[in-house]
C-alpha cells in the first residue's frame, strides 16, 4: 500500500479521501488555490501546497502545478477525486511519466470513454444497448444529412455535444423546423465549453429515468458490480437527489440483473480498472440504453457504501496499489435503502447560484444512519469559483419509507443561513406523491 498520496481536488471529496487514508495509515498531501487557504481539507491533510489562484485553470486544473507538488511532497500516487483532472487522460499520462500512480483507470480506457460518439460505437460493437442515434458527429455544412438522420431516428431527438457533460449544450428538438437552429446553438455552446463543437443526435426518450451501475475492476481482469443508483431527480440535467435501490428496477423482474450484466460488459470492453460508473437511460417500457461511462469516483458514491458496507475509496486505493479485488459478486448483498440529498448553494426555485458567507452552517447530528460529507464549516465563504455543492446528506433506512422519514428529519435539523440553499426543495421532493410512490422520472423537478 502507498505511504503517501496527493489529493488533486478540494472540498468535501478531498476530506472524504483523507478520512479513508487516515484509516489505512496513508499520509495525505493537499493542493489548494488561494481561495481555499482556510478550507477544512487543507487543514486536515498532513501537508498542503498552495498551487495557484482561485480560477480553476490556474490551480486545480493546472497539471504542472499539481505534479510539482506531488514530486516535492514525495507522494507515490495521486487521487483525482471527481471533476477537475479526474477524467483527463493527458494528466494520467503525465503522472505515469513521472512514476506517480494515477488512482483510476488506464489511459486507454479513459480515452475510449471520453468522447460520446466513439464510446457509443464501441459499446454497440460490445453488445451493450445504445439509444438510436448518429454514428458520427453532425457537421454544420451538411444540414440535409442532419435532417435525414433525425427523420430516421424519429422526433423528438436530443442534440448532444460529443465531448464534455453536465448537460451543457443539450437540447430537445420536437420537429424538423427547429433542428437546424438547435444544432447551431448546441455547436456554439459545445465549442465554448469544451473546445469542440462536435454534436450528435440521439433518440429522446420522454418520461425516462437515469440509472447508473457502480463497477470495480482490479488489474487482473476481475470485476464486480455494486448495484445501481437511481439518479432521475435532476435539474438542468444535473443530479439533485439519488437513491438506491431504484424503485423502478424492483418493478420489472430480471431488469436489475440484465442492466448489471450490461454494465460489466461495458467495462470489460475497455479492459476497465478501478472504480467506474455506467450510466443508463431507462424507458417506460423497461428498455435501457448506455449513456456514458464516468471513469472516476462519483459524487453520489456514499449511497452504495451505505447499503453495501464497502468503502469505495479504500477499494480504489487497494486496486491502484496492485492488490487483487477482495470482493466477490456473491458476497455483495445490498441491505436497506439509502438516499443522498445534494445541498446546493442556489436558489431553490430558479436554481441560480448563490455565493456568500455561511453565517450559520449546522448539519444534523451524524450517526450510523445519517452521514454528512461537506467541505464547509460555519463562517466559511462559498466562492463563485467552484461548484455549488455545500454538503451531501446521506441517510439510510431498513426500507425506503424509513429512509424517507429519516431524510425528512435530518433536512429539518439542518440549519443554513447567509446564502440561498435548496433544503426546502428536498423537503418538497420527499413530500411529493409521485416520489413517495417511487414512480418518477427526470421530469419530476420541472413538474414540482
Amino acid at each position: 500500500m502507498f505511504k503517501r498520496i496527493l489529493i488533486a481536488n478540494r472540498g468535501e471529496i478531498a476530506r472524504r479521501i483523507i478520512r479513508t487514508c487516515r484509516k489505512l495509515g496513508i499520509e495525505t498531501v493537499a493542493v489548494h488555490s488561494d481561495a481555499d487557504m482556510m478550507a477544512a481539507f487543507v487543514n486536515e491533510a498532513d501537508q498542503a501546497f498552495l498551487i495557484g489562484l482561485a480560477q480553476p485553470h490556474a490551480s486545480y486544473l493546472n497539471m504542472e502545478a499539481v505534479l510539482g507538488a506531488a514530486e516535492q511532497s514525495g507522494a507515490e500516487a495521486v487521487h483525482p477525486g471527481y471533476g477537475f483532472l479526474s477524467e483527463n487522460a493527458t494528466f494520467a499520462a503525465r503522472c505515469e511519466q513521472l512514476g506517480i500512480t494515477f488512482i483510476g483507470p488506464t489511459i486507454a480506457a479513459m480515452e475510449a470513454m471520453s468522447e460520446k460518439v466513439p464510446a457509443r460505437n464501441l459499446m454497440q460493437s460490445a453488445g451493450v444497448p445504445v439509444a438510436p442515434g448518429t454514428a458520427e458527429p453532425i457537421l454544420m455544412e451538411d444540414p440535409e444529412k442532419a435532417l435525414a438522420a433525425a427523420a430516421e431516428i424519429g422526433y423528438p431527438v436530443l442534440v448532444k455535444p460529443s465531448a464534455g457533460g453536465g448537460g451543457i449544450g443539450m437540447t430537445v428538438v420536437e420537429n424538423p423546423d427547429k433542428l437546424l437552429s438547435a444544432l447551431k446553438t448546441a455547436q456554439g455552446r459545445a465549442q465554448r465549453a469544451f473546445g469542440s463543437g462536435a454534436v450528435f443526435l440521439e433518440k429522446y426518450l420522454p418520461n425516462s429515468r437515469h440509472i447508473e451501475f457502480q463497477v470495480l475492476f482490479d488489474n487482473f481482469g476481475e470485476g464486480v458490480h455494486l448495484f445501481e443508483r437511481e439518479c432521475s431527480v435532476q435539474r438542468r440535467y444535473q443530479k439533485v437527489l439519488e437513491e438506491t435501490p431504484s424503485p423502478a428496477l424492483d418493478a420489472i423482474p430480471g431488469l436489475r440483473e440484465r442492466m448489471a450484466q450490461a454494465a460489466l460488459q461495458a467495462a470489460a470492453a475497455v479492459n476497465y480498472r478501478n472504480a467506474g460508473t455506467i450510466e443508463f437511460i431507462l424507458g417506460q417500457g423497461g428498455e435501457f440504453y448506455f449513456l456514458e461511462m464516468n471513469t472516476r469516483l462519483q459524487v453520489e458514491h456514499p449511497i452504495t457504501e451505505m447499503t453495501l458496507g464497502v468503502d469505495l475509496v479504500e477499494q480504489q486505493l487497494r486496486i491502484a496499489a496492485g492488490e487483487p479485488l477482495s470482493l466477490s459478486q456473491a458476497q455483495l448483498k445490498p441491505r436497506g435503502h439509502a438516499i443522498e440529498f445534494r445541498v446546493y448553494a442556489e436558489d431553490p426555485a430558479t436554481f441560480l447560484p448563490s455565493p456568500g458567507t455561511l453565517t450559520v452552517f449546522r448539519p444534523p447530528q451524524a450517526s450510523q444512519f445519517v452521514r454528512i460529507d461537506s467541505g464547509f464549516e460555519e463562517g466559511d465563504t462559498v466562492t463563485p469559483y467552484y461548484d455549488p455543492l455545500l454538503a451531501k446528506l446521506i441517510v439510510w433506512g431498513e426500507n425506503r419509507a424509513e429512509a424517507i422519514e429519516r431524510g425528512r428529519q435530518a433536512l429539518a435539523d439542518f440549519k443554513i443561513e447567509g446564502i440561498k440553499h435548496n433544503l426546502s426543495l428536498h423537503l418538497k421532493i420527499l413530500a411529493n406523491e409521485q416520489f413517495r410512490l417511487g414512480r418518477y422520472d427526470t421530469g419530476l423537478l420541472n413538474r414540482l
Binding site: 451543457i168 465554448r192 448553494a345 447560484p353 448563490s354 463563485p384 461548484d387 455549488p388
Partner: protein, 72 residues
C-alpha cells in the same frame, strides 16, 4: 434606456454584442459564469446597445449593471 443587471455574483465569461449593435428581445447579450454554470443574460427588449460596462473575466456582483440599451 434599459439597464441590464446581473442576477448573480460571478465572472463575465463572454460578451456577445458590441456598442451600436441592434438586438432583439431574448437575444443573448453576454454569458456569466458562476459555480461551474454558464448563465446567459438576454436582452429584456428589442433595442440598440448603448454601453457595455464589463469585459471577459471581470468579476461582477448581484445587481451590478452590465450593459445599457436603448429601446427601439
Amino acid at each position: 434606456m434599459i439597464e441590464v443587471k446581473s442576477q448573480i455574483s460571478g465572472t463575465v465569461w463572454q460578451v456577445l454584442v458590441e456598442v451600436g449593435q441592434d438586438v432583439s428581445e431574448e437575444e443573448d447579450l453576454l454569458i456569466l459564469e458562476s459555480m461551474k454554470m454558464e448563465i446567459p443574460v438576454s436582452a429584456p427588449d428589442n433595442g440598440k446597445i448603448v454601453e457595455v460596462l464589463v469585459a471577459p473575466n471581470q468579476p461582477v456582483q448581484e445587481g451590478q449593471v452590465l450593459m445599457r440599451l436603448e429601446q427601439s
